[in-house]
Amino acid sequence: MTAVSIIGSILIIIGLWGMLTKKNIVKIIIGFSIIDTGIHLIIVSVGYIRGGTAPILDSTVDRARVVDPLPSALVLTAIVIGLAITALMLVYAVQLHRKRGSLDITAYKELKC
């Protein structure tokens, strides 16, 4: 559905803008999570058939009007991986805060510690 694709694209743009301009590390991670949600929306919206139903077959479902099952399967694993990577990034943020004491990304300018 085109409307959902456009909503997903706007979410990706907002998330990208947030990741590039914000200085707080946790807000950068929130921006990454927003980009993730936008990407999943675009992928699932590509698989929609007009007037289709869920791809679960029983005696009443018309097999020709079923929604494409492949994008759903791809997004299923992508959501779980997104959570794991977000958790890993947050653990990095906690450790960075322990070392330097600030959540501002401009405080980490040098390459050597």
């Binding site: 694209s9 791809p55 299923l76 794991a84 890993l88 653990v91």
Partner: protein, 229 residues
């Protein structure tokens, strides 16, 4: 100032490309050819009523194996990183939870675990499956972590469940290589009638193992974050 303008130009150009590409994809009226093959073969040879389950477990089983591997690496990374700075030996005493939460959790936790097991056992019949069931089980353990002041999660059993379910998952895949057409083929067990519980070959077994593995890995992540003292 110049950096902000450059960022604005980059994001605007990327956004214009993205929106023009996604808005020009036409809405589909009929199923594409590959999806039609998946639907007819999922109902026929594989015998699973939930086509998304058939795609995740058998038609695209190797991607699921890769996803389980990525989840394992992320869990190991979180467990490793959160223990780097344990020279502060202060143990924070937690305030006990309210009585409503303590009593309610004692009643609700077994029901939530039962619901999670139901979801991944019936993955080939109803919406759901291994990932959703594993996440529901992890949320039941989260309730236990929040409601008790001193929860003792048996780390040995957690590690045993996680590694054994991963090993059995690959073992069933190799069994498919020996007894059936290829790696992670689900026809090592009979396909049965569409809609029965004991149908769709080895899909319930594989999805239960995936559900246990994902659930135990998420419990491990939550436990590491909870006990990061």
């Amino acid at each position: 100032m110049i950096k902000r303008a450059l960022i604005l130009i980059v994001v605007a150009v990327a956004g214009w490309f993205l929106i023009s590409f996604t808005a020009s994809v036409p809405e589909q009226e009929t199923l594409p050819l590959l999806a039609e093959q998946y639907v007819s073969q999922g109902a026929g040879r594989v015998g699973s009523a939930n086509i998304v389950t058939a795609v995740v477990v058998t038609f695209r089983g190797l991607d699921t194996l890769g996803e389980v591997a990525v989840l394992f690496i992320a869990t190991a990374g979180i467990g490793f990183l959160m223990r780097l700075d344990t020279d502060k030996g202060k143990r924070r005493t937690r305030t006990p939870a309210s009585e409503l939460l303590q009593t309610g959790s004692g009643f609700l936790i077994p029901l939530i675990i039962l619901f999670g097991v139901y979801i991944f056992l019936h993955g080939h019949l109803t919406p759901g499956g291994g990932f959703q069931g594993g996440v529901v089980i992890a949320s039941a353990v989260l309730l236990m972590l929040l409601a008790r002041t001193d929860p003792r999660i048996n780390h040995t059993m957690l590690r045993a469940v996680e590694s054994l379910s991963g090993a059995f998952y690959v073992g069933i895949g190799v069994l498919g290589l020996i007894l059936a057409a290829g790696f992670l083929d689900s026809r090592i067990l009979p396909a049965g009638t569409l809609g029965a519980l004991a149908s769709a070959g080895a899909i319930p077994v594989i999805y239960s193992l995936i559900g246990l593995k994902v659930g135990s890995e998420l419990v491990s992540i939550l436990d590491t974050l909870h006990n990061a003292e």
